[in-house]
Every structure is written in C-alpha cells, then in structure tokens.
C-alpha cells in the first residue's frame, strides 16, 4: 500500500513495470491474498461493471424516486456530432452504471456507489473502440485501486466528508490513471493524468436532490468520465501538470474539510436547495415514505 503516489511512480520506474503491475505485486506481497486471487477478484469486478453497463443501456430502468432513468440509452442511440466516439461511449456507459445504481441494482463501488459510473464508463468506453485484453483491463483496475487507496488515506472518499470532489472527483482521478495504463502510457503520464483530472474537480460539492443518489449524481458521473478523458488525452500528449499529484489530492482533502456542511451530502445547499430541487425532492420523498414507511 502506498500513501504517496509519486513513491509508487518511482517504484514502478525503478522496476521498469507499469503502475498496475506494481499494484498487483504490492497487493500480493501483503500475503492476504495470492496474486491469482487478487486478479480473479478484479476480473469479477470487471464482469459486474460490464453487466451493469449492459443492463443500464437497455433503457428500461427507473430510479427509486422515478427522477432518473433512460438517459444512457438515449445517449447511446443519439446521432450527434460526437456519436460513435470513445467520448460518447464513455458518457453513455457512465450513465448506464449510475442508472442501475439508482435503481438499487448491482454495481461495483469505484470508489463509492455514488461515483461508480466514472471508472467503468471511462475504461469500457475506451475498450469498445480500442481492443484490449482482459489482463490489461485487470491491470487498469489495479491501477485505479492504487490511486483510490492513496486518495482514501490522504483526503477522503466520502461525499459526506469531502463533497462530490471526493466521490466523482476521486473516481475521475482513478479512471484517468487507469485509462493511461490501459492505453500504454508511462507511470509518470498516469500520475499527470490524475493531477490534470482532479484539478478540474476540486471544490465540487455534493448536493443531491432530497439526498438521493440521483440528481445530479447520475449526470455528474458522465461529466466525471469526460473529465477523466480530458486528463488522459492531455497526459498522453505529454502535458505535465505543475503541481505534483499528491499535493493536488491533499488540496482536495483540505477543501473538503473546509467545505460547509450544506455541501456535503446533506441536501442543504447547491442544486438541492434550488426552488425546483426542493419541490422535486418534496414530491418524491413524500411518495417514497408512503411506499416504505421506514425512517422518520
């Protein structure tokens, strides 16, 4: 386990291996699980991700409140100027996973359920038009895990603690590093991709209508995937972000600690507090409580 990403980059460079390979070796070295078990676990996660994307793209799901659903299908079948690109495939896949999540379907928390669409959206969006092996996908997921673990230690992965920058922001950072790994970039490029992506999600608040993981969460997973693709493209082109990645992550943590509680998943601020946000939440929550009768 690393708590400094630049240490991981240095270790990978010293060994002449990728970050994903380093993550797999590091995890196996803990002795808790064998390398084969770690790889099998990641392959299982990959299959759940693929299943969630497929399920969501069918377009017949409705969220618990009925506020979201069907947009992944809409986007996947659109004929806009960006149709048939990695970009649009990634957005549609990210929406698909989040629509499954909002309907209480099975997904992989990556790192959380609220941000679960970004990583599969980005990686499966790339894989659809850029054939890669399952082994490469597993190494990319290992890279994402290594990055997420560092973010968990240095900052936070909880919207209630750090806002959406700690959920879809962290997910976008993980997806960016993983995407560079998948596309054959260097460990250093992967780290710049994380920094370039996460600088763009700093300060992002968690403001779900009625506290439900639906609006804006579902759409924010799509824009999170877009942010990750931006980071990947820039980093692979050789763009280097001047602030080291660990300091960007620390900044996210610091902003989270200073963020007012209204912007940390409590539905007290942001879009949740708009007139329409309040009205929709009220209508839907009354409905929900009528159905379930739990809570108070």
């Amino acid at each position: 386990m690393y708590d400094v990403l630049l240490d991981a980059v240095a270790a990978a460079e010293a060994e002449g291996i990728s970050l994903g390979e380093l993550a797999l070796r590091t995890e196996a070295a803990t002795g808790i699980r064998t390398r084969a078990e770690v790889e099998a676990g990641l392959a299982r996660a990959l299959h759940v991700m693929q299943g969630a994307v497929e399920r969501g793209l069918k377009g017949d799901l409705h969220s618990v409140s009925g506020l979201v659903g069907g947009d992944a299908h809409r986007l996947a079948n659109a004929r806009g100027p960006l149709a048939n690109t990695i970009f649009t495939d990634a957005l549609a896949a990210a929406l698909a996973v989040q629509e499954v999540n909002a309907a209480m379907g099975v997904i992989v928390a990556a790192p959380t359920a609220g941000g679960a669409g970004v990583l599969p959206g980005t990686l499966l969006g790339i894989a659809r038009r850029h054939p890669v092996t399952e082994e490469a996908m597993v190494r990319a997921l290992a890279t994402a895990g290594l990055i997420g673990a560092v973010v968990a230690v240095r900052a936070s992965l909880s919207g209630a603690e750090g806002g959406c920058q700690a959920e879809t922001g962290a997910a976008a950072g993980m997806a960016a590093g993983a995407g560079v790994e998948l596309l054959g970039g260097t460990p250093r490029q992967a780290m710049h991709a994380v920094a370039l992506t996460m600088q763009g999600t700093l300060g992002l608040v968690c403001d779900p209508l009625g506290g439900l993981v639906e609006v804006p969460c579902v759409y924010r997973n799509a824009t999170g995937a877009a942010m990750a693709l931006a980071g990947i493209e820039m980093a692979l082109a050789g763009v280097e972000f001047p602030i080291p990645v660990d300091e960007v992550i620390d900044t996210m943590g610091q902003i989270g600690r200073e963020m007012d509680v209204r912007y940390r998943e409590t539905a007290g601020g942001g879009l949740a507090a708009t007139p329409t946000g309040r009205r929709l939440a009220k209508e839907r929550l009354v409905q929900l409580k009528g159905k379930k009768g739990a809570g108070s």
């Binding site: 808790i32 969220s63 618990v64 409140s65 499954v100 999540n101 909002a102 309907a103 209480m104 379907g105 099975v106 997904i107 992989v108 928390a109 790192p111 959380t112 359920a113 609220g114 679960a116 997420g148 968990a152 936070s156 992965l157 909880s158 919207g159 209630a160 603690e161 700690a166 959920e167 779900p208 009625g210 506290g211 439900l212 993981v213 639906e214 509680v261 940390r264 998943e265 409590t266 539905a267 929550l285 929900l288 409580k289 379930k292 739990a294 809570g295 108070s296």
Partner: protein, 210 residues
C-alpha cells in the same frame, strides 16, 4: 454491491452484520438510531433496508437488500428506526443499533466512512475501533492482570496471528473490553478455551465483513 450509496448501503449493511454477530444471529428486535447524514438522507439512500439486510445476514452485494424490510418482518425481526443526534464527535454517517436476541442484548455505534469502509466506535458503552476488515474477537472480562497474556497464548497455540489488539475499560476495577483483530478465525477448541477462562463475561467472534 447493491446501490445507491456505498456509505449508505454497503457501509450500513456491514454495520448491521456486526450488530448481528454480537448477538450470534438474527435479532428478535432492533432499535436503529440514525445520526447526521444517515438521519437526513437515509431513507432515500436505502440505509434502512441496508441495515435491516445486515441484521438478516445479507452481504452488501445481495440483491435481496432491496426487499429486506419485508424479509425482516417475515423473519420475526421487529425493527424500529429513529432519527437522533448522538452526543460527542461523530462522523456524519453514524448509527447506534440496539439489538436483542433470545435475551442477549448488545449496543453498538458504527460509522460509515465512505467507499463502504466502516468503523465501529463503541460496543456496549466501551470505546472500540473495529473496521470489520479482520475476523475480530470481542471479549468482555473482569479487569484483572494477565488476561491479555492468557488470550494471546490461546490464540498463539492455535497459530492465529494477531493483526491489532486493543484493551479498554470504563473504570478501574470494572470490566474491560478486549478487541483482537485476527488474520484468520480461531478454531472451536481455542474459542472454548478462551470462553472457559473464569474472568470472562462474554466472548464473541465477528467474521470479517469486507
């Protein structure tokens, strides 16, 4: 895992699983107090269903979590939910669960830290730190010298490695709580040996939940 929120569903389910383990099975009754963000947004996030599912022994990726409130009623588990503000400093996603099963009771306070990770911070009024990432032995014993050595000895004879260990008490000369996080579960023989120690009040095993 089953959506929609790793803090509100996966983490909450794991806290429910630990409450279940403390009474050795599905409780007859549970009072679930929801604090902070759990109280404000728990129903929409399915926190109530996730905790109920954990109490029933469901894992975070079990699709039955969606219908767990009905399943609880069918299984004879009466659950009461109550919003509360816990005293002291608590993570925004915290719950205090009181469970009863055939006369055995337990109270635990647990927080969901994000990404499904949890921390149990109190059991029966004793401060603890349990992550659920390990098989955990929870023992309440009279606060007399030598118990740690006896328990550790029994575990060592059983070739069980200790990952972390913590002993705490509410007052001198009262009872002390022992928390041992273990790399794997002890054998029944070792558990029988530990349970037979005359100073032991309760000895419970919590299987790892993540």
């Amino acid at each position: 895992m089953v959506g929609p929120s790793s803090s509100h569903t996966a983490g909450a389910c794991r806290i429910g699983l630990i409450a279940r383990a403390l009474v050795g099975g599905t409780p007859d009754h549970a009072l679930v107090e929801l604090h902070g963000s759990f109280a404000r947004t728990g129903v929409g996030h399915g926190t109530d269903r996730a905790i109920a599912g954990g109490l029933l022994g469901y894992q975070p990726d079990d699709e039955r979590l969606r219908e767990s409130l009905d399943a609880a009623a069918a299984a004879g588990l009466a659950i009461e939910f109550k919003n509360t503000t816990l005293r002291g400093d608590h993570h925004p996603n915290t719950t205090r669960i009181h469970v009863t099963r055939a006369g055995r009771t337990a109270v635990l306070t647990g927080s969901s830290l994000g990404a499904g990770r949890i921390m149990v911070t109190a059991i029966d009024g004793f401060p603890v730190e349990i992550t659920g990432a390990y098989t955990t032995l929870v023992a309440v014993a009279k606060d007399v010298p030598g118990i740690v050595a006896s328990v550790a000895g029994a575990l060592a004879d059983d070739a069980v490695n200790l990952a972390t260990m913590r002993v705490s008490r509410r007052q001198r000369g009262g009872d002390a709580i022992h928390i041992y996080e273990l790399d794997h579960a002890p054998t029944d023989e070792a558990m029988t040996r530990i349970r037979a120690m005359p100073v032991m009040k309760t000895v419970r095993i919590i299987e790892r939940v993540s």
